[in-house]
């Protein structure tokens, strides 16, 4: 049976720029673009943006091993609700995704959930222990294109260099959690005025900067593709800009929370603001916003990091790092960074799909292109109050935001409308 859907009257981001027009989707692909299209299932998209489905390069779905925090089904629901059609999930599961069969398990579970393409990232080292290379060849064969020991830095420069050498020829990207172990040991927040007042051990900006500086030297040596996760410092932005100017194959991501907040959010020691890297100074936050707007920072990645309520009901220093964010990442970016339509879909879809080599995603609407699409209303004012994630560790619950993903289309099927999942199991 032929399925058909029309997205009508939206401002569609095409290769020629934004155009107010209709899209006809037939059997999972865009079949027709033009005004006045008619059909049975027709969704009015007037005054909203239409563009490629959002792609997250960095999320944690916790399965296998920590299903009390999240699983691939609940993570997929949150993703679809937030406008995502593909999500790269980090390998810091239990066991870590360090071999082919483990990557296939994650991808298969994603396909069962059927709401987004769940793309496993593979570990750089066996067990993410930072000693021996993971089964990089098996992982590659299982479709893995992003490699990371996320949660931990690849601290050993020799190991990182070997991973880069191995992956350079294939074209895989190493995604580094760039936080130095020695400089961050014992630290729980940005080292600065707030940590001084609270008497808390800080993590200096230099903890990130020294790893980025070191790794860029290895990129020069190996020619491997290198991606900095959750960039947090102004110096980091400057180093990425220089590396790009020098032609190095380097990219970077920023999280919504590093765009929205700075270390003053930690003053009340509410663990919902505890991140790694930590929320840094106001100047750092502003440099990240500028870097995202000017394109130095390629990608917004959610670092969706679910934790159960009981894990958050502890003092700051005992709380785990991270926040959930898939459902409102696009809104947070729209609220705090103010991207135009083209930059918005570039940073949240086109660039992450390119860096993660995710087929069928991040493609501007055109005839014949797979229909992975997100409709975004940049003017919608709303306040998140509930979440589809198992977790609720989010500073955005209760925070007024502007902009909302209103329709998510995954492989031609509507998976979410206005934050509610519709196409489950399709």
């Amino acid at each position: 049976m032929q399925s058909e859907l029309i997205l009508a009257g939206g401002t569609v981001l095409t290769a020629d720029g934004p155009v107010e027009t209709d899209l006809r989707i037939v059997d999972g692909h865009i079949a027709e673009i033009g005004g006045g299209l008619d059909g049975d299932e027709r969704i009015d998209c007037t005054d909203t943006w239409v563009g490629p489905g959002l792609v997250d390069l960095h999320a944690h779905f916790r399965e296998p091993g920590q299903e009390w925090k999240e699983d691939i089904t609940t993570g997929s629901r949150a993703a679809a609700a937030g406008g995502y059609t593909a999500v790269v999930v980090m390998p810091n599961t239990d066991p870590a995704t360090d071999a082919g069969h483990l990557a296939r398990f994650v991808a298969d579970r994603g396909a069962e959930a059927g709401l987004v393409d769940v793309m496993p990232a593979g570990a750089v080292s066996k067990g993410r222990a930072g000693v021996e290379l993971a089964h990089l060849d098996e992982l590659w064969a299982a479709g893995v294109r992003v490699f990371s020991d996320d949660g931990d830095v690849v601290a050993d420069a020799g190991l990182l260099r070997r991973a880069m050498d191995y992956l350079a020829a294939r074209g895989g990207v190493i995604s580094q959690h760039a936080v130095d172990v020695g400089l961050s040991r014992g630290g729980h927040m940005h080292e600065g005025a707030v940590s001084s007042l609270l008497g808390m051990y800080g993590i200096p900006s230099a903890a990130d900067d020294v790893i980025i500086a070191r790794d860029l030297k290895l990129v020069e040596v190996t020619g491997a593709r290198y991606h900095v996760q959750h960039l947090s410092t102004a110096n980091g932005v400057a180093m990425i800009a220089d590396a790009k100017a020098n032609g190095l194959p380097v990219t970077a991501e920023v999280t919504p929370h590093h765009l929205a907040f700075d270390h003053h959010a930690a003053e009340g020691t509410d663990p919902v603001y505890k991140m790694m890297p930590p929320l840094r100074s106001t100047e750092d936050r502003d440099a990240l916003r500028r870097g995202l707007v000017d394109g130095t920072i390629d990608v917004v990645a959610t670092d969706h990091a679910p934790h159960a309520d009981h894990e958050e009901e502890v003092p700051w220093e005992h709380a785990p790092n991270g926040v959930i964010g898939l459902e409102w990442a696009a809104a947070v970016v729209n609220t705090f960074a103010g991207l135009d339509q083209e930059a918005f879909y570039d940073r949240l879809s086109v660039a992450p799909a390119r860096i993660g080599q995710i087929e069928g995603h991040g493609l501007l609407p055109a005839i014949g292109v797979p229909a992975n699409l997100t409709v975004f209303d940049p003017n919608r004012e709303w306040t998140p109050t509930v979440t589809l994630s198992k977790a609720q560790n989010s500073p955005y619950l209760g925070l007024p935001l502007r902009g909302k993903a209103t329709i998510t289309v995954y492989r031609g099927v509507v998976t979410a409308v206005d934050g509610a999942v519709t196409g489950e199991g399709s």
Binding site: R185, G186, E191, G192, A193, S195, S196, L197, L198, G199, M200, Y201, G202, G268, T269, H310, E313, V314, P315, W316, E317, H318
Partner: protein, 305 residues
């Protein structure tokens, strides 16, 4: 005042009022029967998630001198060692019936979190390296008893300020009460951003020493942090120890304070600690009085008999 968590934000009048109340409880404690019925029928729980002897005993003595009942909790013997969460522990003890909780915790902000979970007053008995507000009150009371005021006094706080909740609370209390405070320590023990405190900072004790009215000696906290923050104890003593020689260079009426427990021979020489101008045991006595003042403020008032 619903809780007593921090010195930060308290006004000169707030602090002065609490010290005035404490003066009255000093008088009570000097009576033949050092006890008043102000909090009869109330129960105060001391919840020290971090080991402590003197602060816990001082709070218990203060509660009992106000005729409150006390119950105590220590992590070594509790369900915490069986994996119970902080919140469940707190709610369990609340369910037994307590009117106030005195909390000490290694983690910054723990008393604030607990104050979100229960309606009863929470008293901060020391959180991380953040605040120890009753210590600041007893220190201010001891200085005020000696000099009559803190206005215009020059107070040097010497030692591990970076990792000291005592220093943070003291700096805020002393400066609010009109003293000029100088933090003296090697750079590894000063706050990373010293400007957040209303205090000068110096690495050179010997240049600061002759002007001081009060030398506040902090304990070298070998047990905290773990990272090596100075090369050796002897090097620390040579640069920052309050030795007999340095004591002799103080103004004749200057006093020495220490929050305890002391490392004799490290941050303070034994002979200095035992000198009549070292008011260390006065501090301990005053600790009971200021804690009575705070407990009475939170639990007494119009509800008292």
């Amino acid at each position: 005042m619903n809780h007593f968590l921090t010195i930060e934000g308290l006004s000169r009048d707030d602090l002065g009022g609490l010290l005035d109340d404490a003066d009255e409880f000093v008088e009570v404690l000097h009576r033949p029967i050092p006890k008043v019925p102000a909090l009869r029928g109330k129960t105060v729980a001391t919840m020290f998630f971090e080991a402590s002897t003197r602060t816990k005993m001082s709070f218990e003595k203060a509660a009992k001198a106000l005729s409150a009942d006390t119950m105590s909790f220590s992590p070594g013997t509790s369900s915490l060692s069986k994996g119970e969460s902080l919140k469940d522990t707190v709610l369990t003890i609340k369910a037994m019936g307590t009117d106030a909780m005195v909390v000490r915790h290694t983690a910054t902000g723990a008393p604030w979190r607990i104050a979100e979970w229960i309606e009863q007053p929470v008293l901060n008995g020391g959180d991380g390296a953040h605040q120890h507000p009753t210590q600041a009150l007893l220190d201010a009371l001891t200085i005020r008893q000696h000099f009559g005021t803190l206005d215009g006094l020059k107070i040097g706080i010497v030692g591990d300020i970076r990792h000291s909740r005592v220093a943070r609370s003291d700096i805020q209390a002393f400066s609010t009460l009109g003293a000029e405070v100088t933090m003296v320590a090697p750079r590894t023990l000063l706050p990373v951003v010293p400007e957040v405190f209303e205090a000068a900072a110096s690495e050179d004790l010997d240049s600061v020493l002759p002007d001081l009215d009060v030398v506040y000696v902090l304990r070298v906290q070998a047990e905290r942090g773990g990272a090596s923050v100075f090369p050796s104890l002897s090097e620390y003593t040579a640069r920052y120890g309050i030795t007999k020689e340095r004591f002799a260079r103080l103004k004749p009426d200057a006093i020495v304070l220490h929050p305890g427990p002391m490392n004799r021979g490290v941050e303070i020489e034994g002979a200095v600690a035992d000198d009549p101008r070292a008011l260390i045991l006065d501090q301990v006595f005053n600790g009971v009085a200021v804690r009575m003042a705070v407990l009475f403020r939170l639990l007494g008032g119009e509800h008292a008999e």
